[in-house]
């Protein structure tokens, strides 16, 4: 299959890159100085695109690649892919569900613990030598806190299962109530936020969920509430979040994603009630390898005319 052209949208994983290079004709989009002239010269060779949370296949790219048959995503989120366009043109789309569910859920809980127990701040306290002068301040217990989940899909359920082991009562918001599930349902995010102590975003990013966490939700969550985002940056109205933290209208935040990655609002760096991570939700050696294997598996299946492993479209 080494004559089949695969366009890798951005650097995402060296193991994946190596494998794609070995099995296909790999084009590294980020190394190209003039993207439109590159696309013009190579449009007939590119049959597949490998995208991720940073860069995928928007309408413009899809239109520029007439031979495009499949977009294999190195991510479970599909917000960087124009799904409607793909459907229209009969282009297949695959993602990486399930293999990363646990890691993302683990990190969500890790962020909750780090924010409430001020883990990163107290580590800084020790490294700066301040412990010799006095004890660190009291923090907040995590066990038993009410956890509210926006989106009770695979990742949301995995977060719930873990939080339950800490005796956290679980509540949720989703488009439709799930009667088979024993958690408390709220028909709006504002009501969920008013009720819970920790609000976590775990739904896909779509037009409907863009800025689903806005000023009203943040105010409802309140000065003792904590927001955790392991979804996508645009789920949260970032400037509202920043001002709420500064004005003490929100108790704290643990964020793995931002509206304009890799840029993180620097005003947050001085706060002791936030934890900010560089989009590492699925960032483990084990999971990235499993995700890469899925991308390769999907591409090979497609070009061998076998059933796709994890099709979306």
């Amino acid at each position: 299959m080494d004559s089949i052209g695969v366009l890798m949208a951005c650097p995402m994983n060296s193991y994946l890159e190596q494998q794609l290079d070995k099995r296909f004709k790999l084009f590294r989009f980020w190394t190209v100085p003039d993207k439109s002239s590159f696309l013009n010269s190579n449009k007939d060779s590119i049959q597949a695109v490998a995208g991720n949370a940073t860069a995928g296949a928007d309408a413009e790219l899809i239109e520029a690649l007439p031979k495009l048959e499949i977009v294999a995503n190195f991510s479970v989120g599909l917000d960087k892919i124009d799904l409607a366009k793909c459907k229209e043109k009969g282009i297949r789309v695959t993602n990486t569900p399930d293999v990363l569910t646990e890691d993302v859920a683990d990190l969500a809980i890790g962020l909750m613990l780090a924010v409430l127990r001020k883990l990163c701040e107290s580590d800084r306290y020790v490294r700066s030598g301040k412990w010799k002068k006095g004890d660190y301040m009291l923090t907040t217990k995590f066990t038993g806190k009410k956890v509210g989940i926006i989106g009770l899909g695979r990742i949301g359920m995995a977060i719930a299962k873990r939080a339950e082991a800490f005796s956290c009562p679980i509540s949720y918001y989703s488009r439709n109530e799930k009667p088979e599930i024993n958690y408390k349902y709220y028909p709006s995010v504002v009501e969920l936020a008013a009720y819970c102590d920790i609000l976590v975003v775990a739904c896909p990013l779509t037009k409907e969920t863009h800025h689903i966490v806005n000023r009203d939700v943040i105010n409802a969550l309140g000065p003792k509430g904590v927001l955790i985002n392991i979804g996508r940056g645009p789920h949260v109205e970032e400037p509202e979040l920043v001002s709420a933290l500064f004005e003490h209208r929100l108790g704290g935040a643990g964020l793995d994603v931002f509206e304009n990655e890799p840029y993180v609002p620097e005003e947050l760096f001085g706060l002791d009630n936030v934890v900010l991570l560089p989009h590492v939700g699925s960032g483990t050696v084990e999971t990235r390898e499993a995700m890469a294997d899925l991308v390769i598996g999907n591409l090979e299946a497609h070009f061998q005319k076998k059933p796709l492993l994890t099709p979306v479209v």
Partner: protein
């Protein structure tokens, strides 16, 4: 025992560190008469104060880590109960208490969820590089250098719990939900526990990816996480300690971490607090916590309830909670 003639609140002797007034002292003072040498006016030494009141003292409230030595105990011939303020009782001369038939109670299960939470927080932080990732973002390196180095998955990791008491059990319950595989070492196998038991910490380490120290510090457990144990754990091993610093041979731990012989460590306790080996400060795979596993207001509320209940129980001749077995 409270008698009909006693209208005064019962006497409780307090032994606490200087400059530390435990948060609920004023509430205890509404129910008991607290005798505190550090409050005496004119100032009086602990020895002298204890001696002066010795005839009427049957219970001592010990705010850790103030040591209770054999000498101090000899000043209190009628002492029957020491109410501890922490889970650990390694600062109390238990041999002498055994000899004198003095009961000791500790914080029991009041602290366990908070300590377990911190142990899990430390493990996630080390494996998933949470504090390191935050440092990376704060230093502006995400924009400059791109992707942060990958961490390691929790699911499927074999976690060996050293001491499956109240804290260890709470840790096990939490980590199971992350898909960790639990096994343990303790003095005796616990038949009702489904996890594999190892007779010694070395065997536990051989079969684990991470060790969590959460047992009491005694003569037997001092330095039980030794050089051999840590070597058996291996280069991909993680050490978490929320027990007492001296459970681990700290010098060896530092040497192994600096030499890259362990994947990482998350430590809330150290051999010589608040001194922390400086070599650890430049390591990215270590998370350091200033002995604050129980430092939440909720913990102190639970402790207050327990201590108040135990003091009332003692003075009404009722059964005590969280009696330490030694």
């Amino acid at each position: 025992m409270a008698t009909v003639e006693e209208e005064e609140p019962p006497l409780v002797l307090v032994h606490r560190p200087p400059n530390f007034n435990f948060p609920f002292k004023h509430r205890l003072q509404t129910r008991f008469c607290l005798l505190d040498p550090l409050d005496s006016d004119p100032p009086e030494s602990t020895h002298s104060f204890f001696s002066r009141h010795s005839a009427s003292i049957r219970v001592l409230l010990c705010v850790d880590p103030t040591p209770i030595t054999r000498d101090l105990l000899s000043l209190l011939p009628f002492l029957q109960l020491i109410v501890g303020y922490s889970a650990g009782v390694d600062h109390i001369d238990l041999d002498e208490c055994r000899r004198r038939n003095i009961t000791v109670t500790n914080a029991g299960k009041a602290f366990s969820p908070d300590v377990a939470d911190l142990a899990v927080a430390l493990l996630i932080d080390v494996l998933r590089r949470v504090s390191a990732g935050f440092r990376y973002v704060r230093a502006g390196l995400w924009a400059r250098n791109g992707e942060f180095p990958l961490g390691f998955k929790l699911g499927g990791k074999r976690v060996g719990i050293v001491g499956l008491g109240s804290v260890g059990s709470e840790i096990a319950k939490r980590l199971e939900s992350f898909g960790c595989v639990i096994s343990y070492n303790s003095r005796r196998k616990k038949p009702s526990v489904p996890f594999p038991w190892y007779e010694n910490v070395y065997d536990l380490a051989v079969n684990s990816d991470a060790l969590v120290g959460c047992c009491a510090l005694t003569e037997e457990t001092r330095h039980m996480i030794s050089k051999d144990v840590m070597t058996a754990l291996g280069k991909e091993g993680v050490i978490i300690n929320v027990g007492r610093g001296a459970l681990i041979d700290e010098k060896e731990l530092v040497r192994l971490l600096v030499g890259g012989e362990l994947r990482g460590a998350g430590l809330d306790v150290f051999e010589n607090e608040p001194d922390v080996p400086q070599e650890l400060f430049s390591l990215d795979n270590v998370v350091l916590s200033p002995h604050c596993a129980v430092a939440t207001p909720e913990c102190f509320d639970a402790l207050e309830q327990l201590i108040t209940a135990n003091l009332e129980a003692f003075f009404s001749n009722k059964p005590l909670q969280s009696v330490v077995e030694f």
